[in-house]
Symmetry: C2
Subunit: 263 residues, 2 copies
């Protein structure tokens, strides 16, 4: 249902990303988009790097692109060339199961780096679909590897990046393996809350960029179950939902629900 719209946009992106000189655009646009001056520095790849390393990263990130809502940044099965840092906007990653079904494997927002699952095999294991108009920075992985051999701080960051992804997925495993629907949805909301807070947004009120179906897919639930839970939480005064706008009203109780203390 969504891939139909995604195809032309993907083609458009291929064009934008094509390795051509980009004679003028580059220097003009870069002044304000250097990693070293990026507001997301603390979250993103350049976390904790010294000035020299930052300069080298600036050097490395030569491709930045806007993608429209619904566009596909990379597809499962295509060659892995680069990691991508989300500069603004958000996307989902989707893994395709054997029978063609897709499961939402991740929700990513500004400051996140995606594509790391392709490193091992050289082939992307999932596809990344934009949930709104989104700006991404490409980090050509060959160059990341080179730089990381020369600079141990960069190396450390590469390792952190990968390890963090392992930890993230492990948390989802826990969620899917041990929690009930109720707990899963609350855990999801609290995760979002925390991540918005890290980025300087409200941790109490935010807009869901995923449909009920996508949230369900991510949490291993059906969309009806997600919808029912939202309604119930609202009835119980724990949250307030208006379409995709969510307001967390009773954080203590929500946290109790996740921890399973609420019999």
């Amino acid at each position: 249902m969504e891939s139909a719209a995604a195809v032309p946009l993907h083609a458009e992106f291929q064009h934008t990303l094509a390795p051509r000189p980009r004679p003028l655009l580059r220097d003009v646009s870069r002044r304000q988009t250097l990693c070293s001056s990026c507001k997301l520095r603390g979250l993103c790849f350049s976390e904790g790097l010294d000035a020299e390393a930052l300069r080298q990263i600036d050097e490395l990130v030569t491709t930045r692109t806007w993608l429209h809502k619904g566009a596909t940044l990379f597809r499962a099965g295509t060659r892995f060339n680069a990691l991508y840092a989300i500069r603004s906007g958000s996307c989902k990653t989707v893994v395709l199961s054997l029978d063609g079904q897709g499961q939402v494997a991740g929700y990513h927002m500004a400051g996140d780096i995606i594509g790391s699952d392709g490193i091992g095999t050289g082939v992307h294991g999932c596809e990344a679909v934009m949930l709104e108009d989104t700006e991404v920075c490409a980090l050509p992985f060959q160059q990341v590897e080179d730089l990381s051999r020369r600079n141990s701080h960069v190396q450390r960051n590469v390792h952190r990046l990968l390890s963090r992804e392992i930890a993230r997925e492990r948390n989802i495993m826990m969620l899917l393996g041990t929690m009930r629907a109720e707990q899963r949805l609350v855990a999801f909301l609290l995760d979002l809350s925390e991540r918005y807070q890290e980025r300087g947004y409200s941790s109490r009120e935010f807009v869901l960029r995923l449909t009920r179906e996508e949230i369900g897919s991510y949490l291993g639930l059906k969309l009806e179950t997600v919808s029912r839970l939202f309604s119930r939480f609202q009835r119980e005064g724990l949250i307030q939902v208006q379409g995709r706008v969510v307001k967390l009203l009773d954080l203590p109780t929500l946290k109790q629900i996740v921890s399973g203390t609420t019999a």
Copy 2:
């Protein structure tokens, strides 16, 4: 229930691993246990390395230890110092949820490398418990990082290692998020089958090292469900189970079940 027995054994291991000179033991024991001559080379960390890199890896792996069944190699929350390669035997990794419950996060056998989830934070995110008497090689991570800066093949292997872990967990996410009990258990059996085959063992018949409860925990099911499914598969002639000895009788049908083709 299992941690009670594990404590003393863990203490024993701490002792064995303690950074002391090991005056005699070392050279005597190493001749036959060099990575460069290890039969697991193709699977383990030294996969695809040239002679020089292999020598350097040999240099790096100075600690090998036997752990008894039930012993804990590392605990969640303790400092991360090294990756561990399983030389023989097997273990499970267990993540502890907020409410103290543990979920089995992985089953690891000879040739696997565990502990990579500690890299990012410097702290182990799970605990590793031996399922039988097991020999492990310690790869001090600081040295792995140093070596990987000097040798791009080693670097590539570190990345592969981490990325493979991401892919592994992603598969489990898919399993937990989209499959029914029946499919999960078959997927688990086929995964084991494949891995035993890679290691030169029978892919048709093997011994489960996990209890029904542990299998259930790993698959997000209750032990009764696992047991019932085993019984049912046996009735249907798909497998033969005798306690922990499993024989796969009808691979084609089993594969169909996982792929969901079996309505």
